[in-house]
Amino acid sequence: MDARMRKFLALFVACALVASFAVGCSSTEDEPADTTTDEPMTEVRAAMVTDTGGLGDKSFNDLAYAGLQMAEQEYGTEIKALASNEIADYEPNIDQLASAGYDVIFTVGFLMTDTSMLKAPEYPDVAFGGIDQFFDAPPENLAGLLFKENEGAYLAGVLAGLATLDETLDDRINADNTIAFIGGMDIPPVEKFEVGFIAGARSVNPDVKVISLYAGSFDDQAKGKELALASIEQGADIVFAAAGQAGIGAVTACLEQGALFIGVDADQYETVDEAKPIILTSAIKRVDQAVFQVVGQVVEGTFTGGITEFGLAQDGVGLAPYHDFEDKISQDIKDAVDKASADVIDGTVTVPATRDAL
C-alpha cells in the first residue's frame, strides 16, 4: 500500500468514525401529528431529554414521551425527545434543545437534578420540568415534578403481602411467606418504591419476609435476572421490580422458575408481552399525566416553577388493572387494596418514604 493510498484510507476511516459518533447521539423524532387536518393550535414546542435508560425502556422514559404525545394530540404541540446514552450527554442535549427554541424542556429522572438546576438559569425563557427532581430553591422557570412512588408501591405491597398467603390464587404461590423487591439503582425514587412495598406488605402480613436486592443498573438485564433467581431460590413467589429494563430480566427469571411479577411505572402488562401470564399488576407512576399537565400550563401561560407532588390523591400513582388475574385474585384481597388506597388518600395511613422511617 503506497503512502497516498494509506492517507486516503485513513481519512476514510476517520470520516466513518466521526459519522459513528453522530449515530451514537441518535435522537427520536416524531412526525407532526396530522398534517392533513387543521393547523396546530399552539406555537409551543415541547421536548424532553431522557436519562440513560433511554426511550424504549417500556416504562419511565417512554411514559414521559407518551405525555408529550398526549400534548401533541391535544394542543398540536411540536415535540422532540433526545436520548442520553451516558450522563455526560445530559448537558449537551439540553443545550441543543434550548438553542433550537423549544419552549418547555423536560429532564427525565433523578440523575438529572443537578443538570436541571445548572441549566435552567442559563435559559430563563425556557420552562423546565424536572421529573423526579427535588430542588431547595428552584429558579422561576424550573418545576420539580415529584411522585409519591411509595403510595403506589404500598398498594402493590398490600396485594403481594396477601397474595403470597393465598395458595389458591395461583399454583406459583408457594408455602413460604416471602416476597421480593428488585431495584435498579439505589436512588430516592427507587427507595420510595422499596419502602412503600415493604410497608404495604407488612401492614397486612406482619410476618412477611421481603427480600430486597439492587442491580446497580437500569439496563443490565442479566443482572436483573440473577437477582430474581436468587430471591426465588429463597422462596419468594412474587417479585416486584422497579429496575427499568433490568426488570425485564427479572420477568425472564420469574417465567423460568414459576413466580409472579409486579411491574412498575407503566402498565407492564401492555408493554412487556412475555410478562402477560405472570403479571399481577403494576405500580404505575403517571409521568405522562405530569408531563401533559405541565405542557398544558405552558400553553395556557399559567406555568409556575416550584415543587409539585403527585400522589394517590392526585391520581399521579396507583395500581394498574389486574388483567388476567382479575378473576383469580379474591374479592377479599381486592377490598383490602381498595381500603388501603382510601386510607392513604384520606390520611389515615401515612406511607413512609425512606428506609429510616420504615
Binding site: 476511516v13 459513528s20 417500556k58 446514552n85 430486597s212 439492587y214 440473577e226 431460590e233 425472564t252
Partner: protein
C-alpha cells in the same frame, strides 16, 4: 444464614455470570498474544448480543442467532484489525472508537429494524443442555440438587466456554499455531524473518477475538435473558480485559479469573439478602466484585508481564 448463602445456585450463578466474561477474556488473550491490544471487547460483545437477537427473531432459530452473533463480532473486529494492522493507528484509540461505534450502531439498527429504541421483543433462547430429573427426597435428593445445580443446569454456550478455555490453553502452548501466535506478540520481527506472515497471523487473531466477543454477547441475549437492551453489556468487556491480564494472558487463567469475578458477584447478590440484618448500603455490596478484582490483581497475582510487542504496530522492512 450460611445455609442461605451457600446454595447450589450460588455456584451456578457464578458460572453463569463468568461465562460471557470468560469468552471475551479469552478473545482478549488471543488478540493480545498476537500483539494487538483489544479494548473493543465491550463493543464486540454488544454487537454480538444484538446480532444474535436479530438473527434469532428473523429465523426463529436460536442457533442461527448464535452464528449471526459470531459473524457480527468478527466483522466489527475486522475494523479494528484493519485500523491497527494496515493503518497502524493507536490500538487503544481504535478500540475506544469501536466501542462507541457499537453503542451507536446497535441503537441505530434497533430503530431501523424494530422501530423503537430500548429493548427488543424476546427471541427464541437456547435451553439447558441436560434436563434430567433426579431424586428430590432425603440425602440423595440434596446431593442430586447440588450436582444438578452446579454441573448440569447450564445452557450450551456455558459448556462451550469451558471447552474453549481448556482447548485454548492446550493449543496456545502445545501447537504450532500457539507458538506462532506467541512469537507475533513477543518478537514479530523474528517471526517475520522465519517466514511467518505477521499481517495474516494478527488478522486471524483479531478476528478470532471478535468471534469470541460475539459469542459472549450471544450468551447474554440468547441464553440468559432472551432480548436485547441497549448498552446491556454494562462494562463486562472491560472486566473481561482485566480478567485476561489477571489470568496472565492465558485462556485457562482468563477463565479462572472470570470465574472468580463471577463468584464474587454471585456472592454479593447473596449478601444483599441480609441487607435488613446488617445495615449496609446496597452500593457497598455492588462494589465488592470490583474491589475484589483490584485486590487480587494487585496483591495475589503479582507482576503480570504482557507480551513484549503488544500495542506496537509492526512495520515490515
Amino acid at each position: 444464614m450460611l445455609s442461605d448463602i451457600i446454595t447450589p445456585d450460588l455456584f451456578a450463578a457464578a458460572v453463569r455470570i463468568a461465562t460471557p466474561l470468560a469468552l471475551a477474556a479469552i478473545g482478549g488473550t488471543i488478540c493480545e498474544r498476537s500483539g494487538i491490544v483489544n479494548i473493543a471487547l465491550e463493543g464486540m460483545m454488544l454487537v454480538g448480543a444484538f446480532a444474535g437477537v436479530v438473527g434469532a427473531l428473523a429465523t426463529g432459530s436460536a442457533w442461527f442467532g448464535v452464528l449471526c452473533a459470531i459473524l457480527a463480532g468478527a466483522l466489527l473486529a475486522l475494523i479494528h484489525a484493519f485500523a491497527s494492522i494496515n493503518l497502524r493507528t493507536d490500538q487503544v484509540v481504535s478500540g475506544t472508537a469501536i466501542n462507541i461505534l457499537a453503542l451507536g450502531l446497535t441503537g441505530f439498527f434497533m430503530e431501523v429494524i424494530y422501530g423503537h429504541p430500548g429493548t427488543t421483543d424476546s427471541a427464541p433462547r437456547l435451553m439447558p443442555v441436560f434436563n434430567i430429573s433426579g431424586p428430590t427426597e432425603g440425602v440423595l435428593g440434596t446431593i442430586w440438587t447440588w450436582i444438578n445445580g452446579v454441573f448440569l443446569s447450564f445452557t450450551p454456550i456455558v459448556y462451550i466456554a469451558i471447552f474453549i478455555a481448556i482447548f485454548g490453553q492446550w493449543a496456545l502452548f502445545h501447537t504450532r499455531w500457539g507458538l506462532r501466535l506467541r512469537a507475533l506478540g513477543e518478537h514479530p520481527r523474528a517471526a517475520d524473518t522465519v517466514g511467518i506472515s505477521v499481517v495474516r497471523g494478527r488478522y486471524s487473531a483479531v478476528l478470532m477475538s471478535g468471534a469470541l466477543g460475539g459469542l459472549a454477547g450471544a450468551n447474554l441475549t440468547l441464553e440468559q435473558v432472551g432480548s436485547f437492551t441497549e448498552d446491556m453489556t454494562n462494562g463486562r468487556g472491560f472486566i473481561a480485559l482485566a480478567a485476561n491480564i489477571f489470568g496472565r494472558w492465558t485462556p485457562g487463567g482468563s477463565y479462572l479469573a472470570s470465574l472468580l469475578f463471577g463468584f464474587a458477584d454471585a456472592l454479593q447478590i447473596k449478601l444483599q439478602l441480609f441487607r435488613d440484618v446488617i445495615k449496609i448500603p446496597s452500593q457497598f455490596f455492588l462494589m465488592l466484585p470490583y474491589v475484589l478484582t483490584v485486590v487480587v490483581l494487585a496483591g495475589v497475582v503479582g507482576r503480570a508481564v504482557a507480551p513484549a510487542a503488544v500495542g506496537k504496530p509492526y512495520e515490515k522492512g
